[in-house]
């Protein structure tokens, strides 16, 4: 086993997590899970920022991911509120059933 891993591996990890987030979004049927998949994607982004920050020896990437986190928090609040209203009107969290607007 090598002593260290190159930074690019972190980035690949980030990409994998991002991809898993995308997969979750596409394949999950529960609205909340779908939302969580987005959070996973954002986490992947954060990892990427921090990895790059390491490479650049800068702290700016951290700041960016900090803001991403803040935004995620805000989104979570609003998003969950929206999900609540949807649930209240439709009594379901199945994302496939929220499809009255189409074509």
């Amino acid at each position: 086993m090598p002593q260290t891993v190159p930074l690019s591996w972190y980035l690949i990890l980030s990409a994998i997590l991002f991809g898993l987030g995308v997969a979750g979004f596409i394949f999950r049927r529960n609205i909340i899970t779908v939302f969580m998949s987005i959070e996973l994607m954002l986490n992947a982004v954060n990892l990427s920022f921090i990895a790059f920050s390491y490479q650049l020896r800068q702290v700016d990437g951290h700041i960016f991911s900090f803001f991403v986190m803040v935004v995620a928090a805000a989104e979570a609040a609003v998003g969950l509120a929206i999900i609540l209203t949807v649930f209240k009107n439709r009594a379901t969290l199945a994302i496939d059933e929220v499809n009255s607007l189409k074509n």
């Binding site: 980035l11 991002f18 987030g21 979004f25 609205i31 779908v34 939302f35 987005i38 994607m41 954002l42 992947a44 982004v45 990427s48 920022f49 990895a51 790059f52 490479q55 650049l56 800068q58 700016d60 990437g61 700041i63 960016f64 803001f67 991403v68 935004v71 805000a74 989104e75 609003v78 998003g79 509120a81 929206i82 999900i83 209203t85 949807v86 209240k88 009107n89 439709r90 929220v98 499809n99 009255s100 607007l101 189409k102």
Partner: protein, 486 residues
């Protein structure tokens, strides 16, 4: 060192419009429980928007960067600031009667509009990706809420949910892209990025730059509803309350285009040869999808949504040209588009009645004879959307395709213009229904236009005609500002 970071009064002045809006928005929140007649809040919101517009103009008298080059106040920014604020004003005018009719006169609506406008203002002035992102999120989150504002309405819920989920999804791509460009260039400041990319040594990492450009493209294209990321727009516009649809299709879109233009025309300008073909293809696809899908729509809001997709396609053509003329054309177009689209939606706002019952095109049968003025003004908007001369829409298209021809995009130009001929069909359909069909029961109990909607209609129509007869008024400014601060 600390002294350096204290914003100077000049910088604060440059940020004044946003500050006004934030303060007033907060104030409205505070006042909300204390006010009986919520329309007063709306009036306050209006006044503060107008104040902000004034402040934007003032801010332009001392252009330059602010807050460590986070923001830059140039002509371009000012143009879009005034534009999005203007859209906010028009939206408010549309909203009064609508909210009253839908018994949704909670005071929160007004601060939400204000904050969304703040977000857009920050976007259009942003010169740095972090603040750009935050501005985008402020605008978006406010928009998500607005789209689902009538929380008991199923359509509103669905609209908000779709908008929110897909919007966040796309934002994640954008962020991912930003992280890459940050990784490659070590900075998030657009001017800095531009400087790094202009360096010849970046050739090896062109693929990475391309990757980040691509990922950011997903985010931006989503926000402006360009193909293939336009899927959300029809559902959201259809489901959202009509004034909000008007707002969404004009304000956030214009702001999104502003950052799209700014990022791609400054930061990525040196690699334009790489991304321009992609934008061209996307532009073409956008026009085609928007126009052709609109042909079959019977829901007027949905049709306008598709039309708004198609119009995004035209602006993308201007972006493809990636020239100052193109940028100016896009600016002009977005301005005239904002007026005609808000105008058209305003008529829908008026016509839909309680619960948005009448939103099918066929319902408008005979409107031309029941309410001639409404119909005539809507006709002006539609003609402008078609691109008939002496309307702003025509000049917008004209400038865009002129820019495209300047950039030798002959085929894109021809296909684009043929597309606009296709588009004529579905706009004409509304005219056909309004004037050539006999009035039905759907127009029987139509109330007279509310003062607010009237204000929107008349001012939009006037703006469209002024832009159509004397486009220099706006175009000259756009032309001067098209050279973005770099």
């Amino acid at each position: 060192m600390p002294a350096n970071f204290m914003p100077s009064s000049a910088e604060l002045l440059r940020f004044l419009p946003e500050m006004i809006l934030i303060v007033m928005g907060t104030l409205l929140m505070v006042l909300e429980p204390l006010t009986k007649d919520k329309q007063h809040l709306g009036v306050i919101a209006l006044v503060s928007l107008i104040g902000a517009a004034w402040a934007s103009v003032m801010a332009y008298s001392n252009p330059g960067a602010a807050f460590q080059s986070m923001l830059v106040i140039d002509g371009f920014a000012t143009f879009f600031r005034v534009l999005v604020i203007g859209v906010g004003v028009l939206t408010l005018f549309c909203s009064f009667a609508y909210l009253k009719r839908e018994n949704a006169e909670d005071g929160e609506y007004y601060p939400l509009i204000l904050f969304s406008v703040v977000g857009q203002c920050i976007m259009v002035t942003a010169n740095e990706l972090i603040i750009l992102f935050i501005g985008l999120e402020i605008s978006s989150i406010a928009s998500y809420i607005l789209a689902g504002y009538l929380r008991d309405d199923k359509r509103n819920n669905e609209s908000a949910l779709k908008y929110f989920l897909l919007g966040s999804f796309a934002t994640a791509f954008l962020l991912y892209g930003i992280s890459w460009i940050y990784g490659v260039t070590g900075t998030t400041n657009l001017a800095e990025i531009r400087r790094v990319l202009a360096n010849k040594d970046i050739a090896p990492s062109l693929g990475l730059i391309g990757t980040s450009a691509a990922l950011m493209f997903v985010g931006f294209a989503f926000k402006v509803s360009a193909a293939p990321f336009q899927v959300w727009a029809p559902d959201v516009y259809q489901g959202a309350p009509a004034p909000v649809s008007a707002f969404l299709s004009a304000g956030p879109k214009a702001a999104a285009f502003a950052i799209f233009l700014r990022v791609y025309m400054t930061a990525f300008e040196s690699v334009a040869d790489t991304w321009a073909p992609v934008v061209a293809v996307s532009a073409l696809a956008t026009m085609i999808i928007g126009n052709f899908a609109a042909l079959l729509q019977n829901n007027i809001k949905r049709m306008l949504a598709y039309s708004s997709i198609a119009h995004a396609g035209y602006v993308m053509v201007a972006l493809t040209a990636h020239s100052n003329i193109g940028t100016a054309a896009a600016m002009f177009y977005l301005a005239s588009y904002a007026f005609m689209n808000v105008g058209a939606f305003a008529v829908v706002t008026h016509f839909a009645r309680k619960g948005e019952k009448y939103v099918s095109i066929d319902d408008m049968a005979g409107l031309g004879w029941r309410q001639p003025v409404t119909a005539a003004l809507l006709t002006v908007f539609l003609l402008s959307l078609i691109g008939v001369p002496l309307t702003g829409g025509f000049f917008g298209k004209f400038y865009i395709f002129k820019a495209a021809l300047d950039a030798n995009l002959v085929w894109l130009t021809i296909l684009g213009l043929l597309n606009s001929a296709v588009a004529a069909y579905y706009y004409l359909r509304i005219i056909v229904v309004m004037y050539f069909k006999e009035p039905g029961e759907s127009t029987a109990d139509l109330q007279p236009l509310s003062a607010g909607v009237q204000a929107v209609l008349w001012s939009s129509a006037a703006a469209i005609l002024v832009l159509g007869v004397y486009p220099s008024l706006v175009l000259d400014f756009a032309g001067q500002s098209a050279a973005l601060a770099k």
